[in-house]
Symmetry: D2
């Protein structure tokens, strides 16, 4: 994988504090389980409150955790004081998502001054089996000086 | 707009029943407000439980309602007994989503035998003002004979 | 449709001059047929040199003209001296592209300071019939002060 | 990487023969340089005929070779007699593409009965330096019994 150097030594604290402010993540039940430069993982327990009509996790729930994982992977490489906004993302649903929990991994492919491109994967875990259920590509923007918190 | 003829006369009942089974929509607080052939609208009240770190609606919440609106627009044109699955979608976030509620509109661009392509828009309403906050393009698949409910 | 006001009164001249410098457009045989604020159309005659293995226009040829139409629709709204770069785009292929020629239409959905989002359509014409063969959504970036021509 | 087992022992011959029929690849000057199960690489020499207004390779030229690499990676895993069609793809442009030549790599992420999802990368080579200039995610469809050649 690509090695990234953080521009903010406090990147992990900053990502964790911002994640705590994403009330939607608490509503979903997602937890931040890994923060490294350019790499963030979220874990989401499977619950019936998050399902679509066939009893699988809703594509939107998968997209939500993958987007946050990608966004925070991007934020982990941004300079102090900058905020991150999602410009766009695309998700491919590869297999029905069920099991115990899913893990959403966000990884920075390219960190530019304004635009950061991220790759996301969502893996579903059921006991000892693991399955790739979705992939994401997203474009994130560095926003400075607009009075937004991280 | 494109005029579509439904292949199932009971399309509206079928869409409404399937929507009721999407427990994630109830978790979000989304309501089905319009079902026409190839056209479905969902309404989502803005609540702090759905926000990201800056207090706007989370991109994943917008993606969730836009995906369901697109998926049900696709299902409304499918033959009886067929189920709909999201293959992939892309969302562009155009402006921060805040206000009283958002309306997610799903429209079928092309309904094929296997693949249906949909266009989605999310509008945010604040008192009397209205703003386009997101657009979606999604690919939906008709699934028959796999024992999936609609 | 959305009405856009150009920030550069010479937008049309600028778009035409830039299009002339896109040597790839000449290689494809594409012509600029319409330039309005936020709206650009390109015409591409169908030739066997542009086909894929089944004799239809290659998806890449369609993507090329749709991307240029979108990029120039974006440029038509940018201030004097700014250049346009494609950040990303997504194309859906709706039907095989054949016939006499195709028309690629680029339309600005939202013009921001840095990021412009465009919608593209490719229509195939065969005698008097017309068919929507592809749709695009693309993100374009305004680049200033990097020494790039328009 | 994921290991794939081809369902057609003659997959390489079939991919090569189909590539020869893609006249657009000859127009661009692209060559097929690697065919393995689920993995196809194309090489494209940089030429001024393929450039956009700033002298870099046009995004559409990059999309064209990435789409063909992805499509043939998908075809390499399809059963005898099946044809491949691009349903949709998304490309992110990460850096200006210049140099001697580019290499487009197509890799299958998931091969389903009807839908195959591929990942593509385009690398630009300039002397001894190498740079990732674009990434693609594409959805390909297996088409059987419609009288299409591979």
């Amino acid at each position: 994988m690509i090695q990234h150097a953080p521009r903010d030594p406090d990147y992990a604290t900053r990502v964790r504090a911002s994640f705590e402010r994403q009330l939607f993540m608490a509503t979903l039940g997602a937890r931040l389980v890994r923060v490294e430069p350019g790499e963030v993982d979220l874990e989401l327990p499977v619950r019936t409150e998050l399902t679509q009509q066939h009893g699988f996790l809703h594509a939107g729930a998968l997209a939500s955790v993958a987007d946050s994982a990608c966004g925070y992977a991007a934020l982990s490489l941004m300079p102090p004081g900058a905020a991150v906004l999602s410009v766009e993302f695309k998700i491919n649903l590869l297999a029905p998502a069920a099991g115990d929990h899913v893990l959403a991994k966000g990884r920075v492919i390219r960190a530019g001054k304004t635009v950061t491109v991220c790759w996301g994967e969502v893996l579903a875990f059921d006991g000892t089996t693991e399955r790739l259920v979705a992939t994401m590509v997203g474009t994130m923007m560095t926003v400075e000086g607009r009075g937004l918190a991280d």
